[in-house]
């Protein structure tokens, strides 16, 4: 049962990803990405990470991609503005070929880890409670740093988004 769920979700994720890189229209791509991300969220849940499942749905599918869609709409890109991409598929195949050794390498390395059952753990694991405790006990520094990172990104976004005096 879990296997089937996993396979279905994995297929959704993969096809979502493929759709993202294959569709010409950005809007379709964004939608494919949402499919992919939601499927991934499902897999997170399979991996006993309910909090992250939630975050994935809300933050990614909800916020970031919505923002993306908003900007796509906002820019109102017409078909003529879309770049012509004749070599797309060729590049993908060549790139895929080049990525094979990389993937083999990584899978080979992971196969050295001993096999362990991966069924869903109890309620406590992955819950917001245990998550919060881990975050604030052990990972305060990165957490605080994230805030500074976001501040910096904020300043950057402001700088870019602000209309320059000679902008055009």
């Amino acid at each position: 049962m879990v296997d089937i769920v996993f396979i279905v979700l994995a297929l959704f994720a993969i096809f979502g990803g493929l759709g993202m890189i294959l569709f010409a229209q950005p809007i379709y791509c964004a939608l494919s990405l949402i499919v992919c991300l939601v499927a991934l969220g499902g897999i997170f849940a399979l991996l006993s990470a309910p909090f992250l499942f939630m975050v994935q749905i809300i933050l990614y599918a909800g916020a970031i991609i919505t923002l993306l869609l908003f900007i796509i709409m906002f820019l109102n890109i017409k078909d003529v503005n879309l770049p012509d991409e004749p070599n797309k598929v060729t590049t993908i195949f060549v790139g895929a070929a080049l990525l094979i050794p990389f993937n083999i390498l990584i899978l080979k390395a992971f196969s050295t880890l001993p096999n362990k059952p991966m069924h869903i753990l109890g309620k406590d694991f992955g819950s917001i409670h245990s998550f919060g405790i881990e975050l604030f006990r052990g990972w305060l520094v990165p957490f605080e740093l994230i805030s500074i990172l976001l501040l910096a990104a904020l300043v950057g976004a402001v700088v870019y988004a602000r209309k320059g005096s000679v902008d055009g």
Partner: protein, 628 residues
Amino acid sequence: MNNFLLAWIVLIPLLSSMTLGLMYLFSIKVIKIPNIVFTVLGLSSPFLSFMIGFSFFLQMIGNHEIFLYKAYRWLSVDGYDIDMGFMADKLSIFMVLFITFVGGLIHIYASGYMKTDKGYGKFFFYFNLFLASMLLLVLADSPIIMFIGWEGVGVCSYFLISYYYEDTKNVQAGNKAFIANRVGDLGFIIAMITMIYYVGSNGFDYINLEAGMQNVPINVLTFIGSALFVGAIGKSAQIPLFVWLPDAMAGPTPVSALIHAATMVTAGVYMVARFHFLYDLIPNVGLIIAYVGAFSALFAAIIATKQTDIKKILAYSTMSQLGYMFIAVGLGGYSVGIFHVFTHAFFKALLFMGAGAVIVALHHEQNIFKMGGMRSKTPIVYFAMLIATLAITGIPPFAGFFSKDEILLTAFSSGEYLIWGIGVLTAILTAYYMFRLLFVVFHGKNYQESRKLHTISKSMIMPLIVLAFGSIVAGFIGIPEILGGNNLVGSWLNDWKNSSLHVEHSREFILMGINILAAVIGTYVAYKKFFNYDMAIVPKYNGIIWKKFYIDEIYDRFIVKKVKEVSIFISYKVDVNFIDMIVMGLSRGFIKSGHFISKVQNANTRFYAFFMLVGISVISTYLIMVMR
């Protein structure tokens, strides 16, 4: 002992020349110095040297003393010392005497000849320097010091030949002389260095060399002897290095008289005589020397028969006479050779000076066929020239007869009949071309009467007379025993007297007769052809003899031109197109690769990412292989 005076024989002309040189520079840059100052300085040095030399000569009479004087240690490397040493034995003193004497006379002559020249002081600077070098050459006690003089002589001749340096031709002639001499020097240096290694372990003066020579392998000695002889060939203008001598006539006539007749060119002969102890051990090389001399004599005589330039005729005759000398020294008759050097110095100097006088009188005309009838115009010169011509032709009792006769006698008695034959043949030719010259210049008729002659100063005439006298009597010091003389030269130089030189009296007389006959034949032919020659006709010569057997052209074509081609090939082809190409090609290659690589730098983000992907892929592949 007052041996240090030996050094002064050399030092006096040297100092005098230095003073002259500085004074000359001073005079052209600051204040003009009157010529008389130069004259006094320039002329006094040969005679002072002559006096000193004569004093040694006097001390030497009757004993076999050798005077040595080591001034200072010239060089000391690795415990091996070479001294700046002077040595006077009979040979060197003999040379010193006639060099200073004849040289002094030529100095006097030059003071008249060069009177109006702007570089009067410079001329005497060179002249004295030359004299100093020549004296060093003969007075040196070791080959290396001799070489200093040897080269000094060469470079002075260069400067004197190219004395009128504004004209390219003169400088070229000087260059030619110097380079040809240098070829000879190459041989000299090689010989010298070989000697140091094989012979000179105890010291490098003649005495030690002579002692050391005995136990050296014969092939080494042969090598040394041959190399040395190359030096002699260069200096004494023998085949094949003679080409410079005729061209050297570009210098002022006193130069020709001094250098190319009396002194410098005889250095080769002197050198062979000086190394008699070496050549005694290697008679084969001596024979080669004799043959080279013989052929040079003949060759030069043949060329001389067709020349028209008065000085060139004399130059070829010099070469021819030098050939005689080499015949003598090559066959071991060192004293004979030196005797001929001695007599030759007188009459050849006389010939040149006479010719010079004629040339001056005719406003520097040198073609004999444009002269003519000078007998009446310049009678003293005529008689001087006549005596000299008779002397060179070998008419008894003039100087040349005795020495030439002895040479031919030497050749005959050594059993080298071919050489003897060539010698006789050359004697005929000598008589022919010398009288040809004399007849054309002094007896030719229909010359341009209207020409106004340049006056010949007394200082030019006086030495002529002295030398004419010398040309008559010089031979008497070497009258062979057969004629009742006691061969002063031979006994003076008896160290070098070849013991094998004994033939029957009757045969000696016959030989003498043949010589006289040869001279007469030559003279007669010349008389027939050129006495009262019609000067209106300037003969146009052609043919191989007039062209001097194309030797110059051959050298030019096969050596000079080739070297120049190689030079151009090296400096403009190899260096520029090959070696520099590699260097520049390397840098161009760098820049080219830079441009090639910059294609990667195409500002395409996707491409950059792709490039990264390739890198990652390669690294992954490597890791897969490493980690199994």
